[in-house]
């Protein structure tokens, strides 16, 4: 493992499988009456959020606390980008306080990379979402969810997602989730198809290791998982598509479309969902929709990442997988 987690593209297959396997061990902690491990006792982790994201912050915080880390939440709401020196100054302040890891969410693509490589700080940097660039722990929790559902909870250990066909639908252009997932799923052997109106696909996408389609219906029957992305309503005003209804008709997932998917196929969403536009309530509330599981899995994945980056070589949990075997 590297010292930082900046991009899903930085992970090798073995790194990624190790994280997923470790997350399975972490998930068992959640089933215990006392959901806590001593692994990061005495370590300080800062959640440095320049952009609002209650869900991601709480998920990281839960993971950190379950590993017994000391947690500092730093929320720099507002337009930090307009006075960019604040990232450096804030980072150095935290460094001076002896922080071991920084979990950073930032509106500017590349901010975590800058933090990790600029020499401003020594702490490990974990990217919790940067601009429209990357959100690697989201991709890991998505992969974890897919592996559990499509390969199996125990059967999945040590496995990747070879041969699985994943369709990602929606605002690819502005989506760090799509970028991260394309990178990681490709590394894990899955075949990815991006589906979006052409206005929401970035110029230059042809270099990505995936297929592109503008037609949702033709991809559904060949998908093991369909991941719906959030579409922000303001995109409509910027003429990315004519109307919300038209978007919904062409790229929304409703019951009829879900029926075209194979029996075993799942529906995913990074949340928060815009019901009625990108996904209907019928689909969102169905058994095949993994949104809630994704949230739970997020904690396990983040525990695994923190453990692997900070925990050194000690076993993650008392009963490791090898011992069980």
């Amino acid at each position: 493992m590297q010292r930082h987690l900046i991009s899903a593209a930085d992970l090798t297959r073995d790194d990624a499988v190790l994280i997923l396997d470790t997350a399975e061990e972490m998930a068992r902690v959640a089933d215990r009456p006392i959901k806590k491990l001593p692994t990061l006792r005495g370590r300080t982790v800062v959640n440095l959020f320049f952009e609002d994201s209650t869900r991601t912050r709480i998920s990281f915080e839960a993971a950190e606390k379950r590993l017994s880390a000391d947690v500092i939440n730093f929320t720099a709401k507002g337009s930090s980008v307009s006075k960019g020196e604040s990232l450096k100054d804030t980072a150095q302040t935290l460094e001076a306080m002896g922080v071991d890891a920084v979990v950073i969410r930032h509106g500017a693509s590349g901010a975590p990379y800058r933090l990790a490589t600029s020499g401003w700080i020594d702490a490990a940097v974990i990217n919790a979402g940067d601009g429209t660039h990357q959100h690697p722990t989201q991709a890991l929790l998505d992969a974890f969810t897919m592996r559990r559902r499509l390969v199996g909870r125990d059967a999945g250990i040590g496995q990747d997602l070879s041969g699985k066909r994943i369709t990602i639908v929606g605002d690819v252009l502005h989506s760090r989730v799509a970028r991260s997932n394309v990178d990681l799923l490709h590394t894990l052997g899955a075949e990815v198809t991006l589906v979006a109106p052409p206005t929401l696909v970035p110029v230059g996408v042809e270099s990505w290791p995936c297929e592109i389609s503008y037609d949702l219906d033709s991809t559904l029957s060949k998908s093991d998982a369909v991941m719906m992305l959030r579409v922000q309503r303001e995109r409509m005003n910027a003429a990315f598509f004519p109307t919300e209804r038209e978007y919904s008709r062409r790229y929304g997932l409703d019951g009829d479309r879900m029926a075209k998917m194979p029996e075993h196929a799942i529906v995913m969403h990074p949340g928060p969902m815009v019901r009625g536009m990108e996904i209907t309530a019928e689909v969102a509330d169905s058994d095949r929709c993994t949104v809630v599981e994704q949230v739970a899995n997020g904690v396990s994945i983040r525990m695994a990442v923190l453990y692997l980056l900070l925990g050194g070589n000690e076993p993650a949990v008392t009963h490791t997988r090898t011992e069980e075997k």
Binding site: S80, V81, S82, K83, G84, E85, L87, K88, H106, G107, A108, S109, G110, A111, Y113, R114, T117, S118, D130, G131, T132, H133, Q134, R176, R179, P202, V203, G204, V205, E206, S207, W208
Partner: protein
């Protein structure tokens, strides 16, 4: 001592000759010239060029003296072999009145390192709405002949047309920063494979090309002269080539950084590579080099854009756009154009002195190295190799993309009207 003998210099890269300067003027060029009463500069193996002329410099004064001043900027210019620079109008206040351009011009004259020819804004406050008093700026002591809203595009087609027409009255030229504003909202880097991967807002080539296409057509329609600033894409080259073949009076410039660097460098997220127009692709770089060689692109201009450290030592999106360039321009041109065989030194003199002086009508600059001409000269040690060290820059700002990069060539001497501004690589 008013006489200087430059001995054995390869004038414009040709056979070694002696050049005798008397006062502000070149007295003689030949072999075996007498050194009586003259300070002798041994120039064995070095190349002597006419003083370089930069049609596109940001001196930041007035308003951003923390980035650069006329003094520090002209010292940087002298270090880079320049004897004349055109100072862009996007200062605070904007150089859109006779008062501001006269101030900048006068500072250049007072400091004496390099002639400073102010560029006047096309529109009041660079706002693109109302023509600035172009005539008053031309008639001022600064004698402005080049007008530009650089930093911003004159995107309103009617305003651009009027400006092109209006400056005909006094032989001026409008230098366009070609950037369609709507197509570049939120733009952070070249739009393409790398931007898609990095998730940075794209600056598409077509945003530059569409404005150039429009402006050459406007220039043709009204019979005016238009100059395209920092052309950066292969498509722009094609449009300018077409326009020239059609007889349209268009000239174009390319920056050294667009001749050498590509958007692959943005993968570092290091804002030192953030510039407008952005670094493009290898294919664009190749097209720009070829176009400069074949004359489609007329000149090299630095777009020297100094910024203080804090404006670059931050995350990419927050960083200022621009790079300093005066002190490294000739080295980059040597590497990309001379050492690749695309241009000889006479070609470099043409693209970096003769033509920019002609486009900007810089009197006394861009003249042949021959008897009776003003002694504006630059001596280059072309055999030199060394890593760029910004600590040695004369510019107040250090935002160079070449730190630590080995570049060939070093300017050792610069003379402005016979007065040395740079001697043995040190400012006089």
């Amino acid at each position: 001592m008013s006489k200087i003998l430059i001995r054995g210099a390869k004038v414009l890269g040709g056979e070694p000759q002696d050049v005798l300067i008397d006062g502000a003027v070149i007295e003689a060029v030949g072999t075996g010239l007498p050194d009586e009463g003259a300070e002798v500069v041994e120039a064995d193996g070095k190349v002597l060029l006419p003083g370089l002329v930069d049609l596109h410099t940001h001196l930041r004064e007035p308003g951003r003296e923390d980035s650069e001043t006329v003094l520090t900027g002209t010292r940087a210019a002298a270090s880079g072999g320049y004897t004349a620079v055109f100072a862009m109008a996007n200062t605070f206040p904007v150089a859109d009145t006779a008062g501001v351009v006269e101030q900048v011009y006068r500072l250049g004259q007072e400091h004496g390192y390099c002639d400073v020819q102010p560029i006047g804004a096309v529109t009041v406050g660079l706002e693109g709405k109302k023509l600035a008093e172009l005539g008053a700026m031309h008639e001022s002591a600064a004698g402005v002949t080049v007008f530009s809203d650089d930093g911003k595009c004159v995107d309103d087609a009617v305003i651009m047309r009027r400006a092109l027409e209006y400056v005909k009255a006094f032989g001026g030229v409008v230098a366009q920063h070609a950037q369609e504003p709507r197509l570049t909202e939120g733009a952070q880097m070249n739009e393409g494979v790398v931007s898609a991967e990095l998730g940075l807002g794209g600056w598409p080539a077509v945003a530059e090309e569409s404005i150039i296409a429009r402006d050459v057509l406007l220039a043709e329609h009204v019979g005016s002269r238009v100059h395209i600033c920092h052309l950066s894409t292969a498509g722009s080259v094609e449009i300018v080539r077409w326009a020239k073949s059609r007889g349209i009076d268009v000239t174009a410039e390319v920056t050294p950084h667009h001749l050498l660097l590509t958007d692959e460098l943005v993968r570092t997220y290091d804002p030192v590579y953030k510039v407008n127009p952005p670094l493009r692709t290898e294919r664009d770089v190749t097209a720009l080099r070829e176009a400069l060689a074949d004359g489609t692109i007329d000149i090299v201009a630095t777009d020297h854009a100094p910024h203080p450290h804090e404006d670059k030592d931050c995350e990419w999106a927050a960083a200022a756009m621009g790079m300093v360039g005066l002190e490294t321009a000739l080295s980059v041109v040597q590497q990309t154009m001379v050492e690749t065989g695309l241009l000889d030194w006479a070609g470099v003199a043409d693209r970096m002195s003769f033509k920019p002086a002609r486009i900007g009508q810089a009197a006394g600059h861009g003249r042949p190295v021959s008897a009776g001409e003003p002694a504006n000269l630059t001596l280059v040690d072309t055999a030199y190799r060394g890593a760029v060290d910004p600590a040695g820059f004369a510019s107040r700002s250090r935002n160079t993309p070449y730190e630590g990069r080995e570049l060939p060539g070093r300017v050792t001497h610069t003379w402005l009207r016979g007065k040395a501004t740079l001697v043995d690589g040190k400012l006089a």
